[in-house]
């Protein structure tokens, strides 16, 4: 595979009341293009990852919308796959470059969620699940709570093990100037926070956020600060939990990961940094197991023991950006933000979050309760 990331940028993530989707996109894309040193005329296509612009904002047709806003009169696409929209946008961008159809393109992930009441956002997000789940009133926390319960029953995972994920990611986010949350939290605080869907509490759940992230990718290798994409895979599983073969894993993650490792000719143990999809604390636990970093039932205790924490880990660091929990989760933007974090880490410009000697990074982006999974593997330009 011969694709490089030559520019990467994100906006701040958070409750950005005064910032519109247009402003978010402009900031991220401008930042990525300046980083890449590319001019508008070099960009040949625009891939936009977003989930909720229609149902919340009344605006569909985002390809054309942002192409106009960004002054890029190029082929433009909105790609949607629930919370995997960003990762899918990048995957489609990569495929378009590999096909030879385009040389240099932008993948933009953008989401504006805080204009609406939380209960309306919750309703909109349920569009990522099945009709049966919607009719049952199963919110996203509810679905991941169902997964948590099974994981706890099967492997003895405890609420405090889940809480350790949030504690770690808040610590990482405290080192990230773009993160939504900058404060440290404790296990006790997580356990004592408002119950959302038993056993998940408020601090087990990623927030509602606004934000955007963008990358410029091109075919071939490029000047020194570029990063190579060595794998880009997507896998699909059933929409609803009731139709899954297993409730203790996200098979889509496993499928996408095993193909990605093959594509990149690496193994799980070779990964230095991983940005995984911790929409809820249990999701990071499942990700660590499904990506092959830990055996079933072993990931939670490892997180509790700080085995994947910046500064404490002996090898793999997970979610150095703060993950979805600490950095924020503007749904369509997350998949691209994960890539931006990996790029900064591999380039050695991640500041206080820098994982020393990071060479190979993996991003895992999930849609819904696991119906879509996207895995990217990146490494320093070879």
């Amino acid at each position: 595979m011969n694709v490089s990331i030559i520019g990467a940028a994100t906006t701040k993530f958070g409750e950005l009341w005064a910032v519109s989707p247009r402003m978010l996109a402009r900031e991220a894309v401008h930042g990525a293009m300046v980083d890449a040193g590319t001019e508008a005329r070099e960009i040949q296509a625009l891939f936009v990852g977003n989930m909720l612009s229609g149902i919340l904002g009344g605006q569909e047709h985002l390809g054309a919308f942002f192409a106009e806003e960004l002054g890029l009169t190029v082929p433009a696409f909105k790609i949607e796959g629930a919370c995997a929209s960003g990762g899918l946008a990048l995957h489609n961008a990569v495929c378009s470059v590999l096909s030879g159809q385009y040389k240099t393109v932008i993948a933009l992930g953008v989401e504006k969620m805080t204009d609406h009441r939380p209960e309306d956002v919750a309703t909109a997000l349920m569009g990522a699940g099945s009709e049966e789940e919607r009719l049952a009133g199963a919110t996203f926390p509810g679905l991941y709570a169902l997964l948590s319960r099974v994981h706890m029953e099967t492997y003895g995972t405890r609420p405090q093990d889940l809480a350790a994920v949030s504690v770690k990611n808040h610590y990482h986010a405290s080192l990230n100037p773009n993160a939504q949350f900058r404060r440290l939290i404790t296990i006790e605080q997580v356990l004592g926070s408002t119950k959302i869907a038993d056993p998940l509490t408020l601090l087990d759940c990623s927030p509602i956020s606004d934000g955007a992230a963008a990358v410029v990718i091109t075919s071939g290798q490029s000047p020194k600060k570029s990063v190579s994409i060595v794998a880009s895979t997507v896998a699909t599983d059933t929409l609803g939990l009731a139709q899954r073969k297993s409730l203790t894993e996200l098979r889509a993650t496993k499928d996408a990961a095993s193909r990605a490792y093959k594509m990149a000719s690496v193994e799980a143990k070779d990964i230095d940094i991983a940005e995984v999809h911790d929409c809820f604390s249990i999701a990071e636990i499942l990700a660590l197991e499904d990506l092959g970093f830990y055996a079933k039932g072993k990931a939670a205790p490892a997180v509790s023991r700080n085995e994947v924490t910046i500064g404490k880990s002996k090898r793999l660091v997970v979610n150095p950006s703060g993950g979805l929990k600490g950095c924020g989760h503007p749904v369509g933007a997350t998949g691209i933000k994960q890539i931006v974090e990996l790029v900064e880490q591999l380039r050695g410009i991640a500041g206080d979050r820098q994982v020393k000697g990071a060479k190979i990074g993996l991003a895992q982006n999930v849609g819904g309760s696991g119906a879509t999974a996207v895995v990217h593997i990146v490494c320093k330009a070879r």
């Binding site: 309306d120 009133g137 169902l146």
Partner: protein
């Protein structure tokens, strides 16, 4: 307003699920509901495996706390899915009740 045509199509699926029994394989209590379920919260949501092997996700109704557990036997019932607005068609759907 919910589409009456969609409600009509969905209700056709109900008859095949009437009067079935099964067991809870996972459960939660939703405490922060989406807009259309505001009046029902907190409510139980369960994953059920029916005797014929089919699985479904449904709201649990008329339950005591001690019945919200893996392995609890349940039966399917028809209930209003959500309270309709004043002039809309009423959606009926399958929920489950402990037995």
């Amino acid at each position: 307003m919910q589409s009456p045509v969609k409600i009509w199509r969905n209700q056709k699926k109900i008859t095949t699920l009437l009067g079935k029994t099964g067991r809870i394989i996972s459960w939660t209590i939703v405490r922060t509901p989406p807009a259309q379920f505001m009046d029902q919260a907190p409510y139980g949501v369960v994953l059920v495996e029916l005797e014929d092997g089919m699985r479904l996700t449904a709201q649990l109704v008329d339950w005591q706390p001690k019945q919200l557990k893996i392995g609890q036997r349940v039966t399917t019932v028809v209930r209003r899915v959500t309270q309709p607005n004043a002039d809309g068609v009423i959606p009926y759907g399958i929920k489950v009740k402990p037995i």
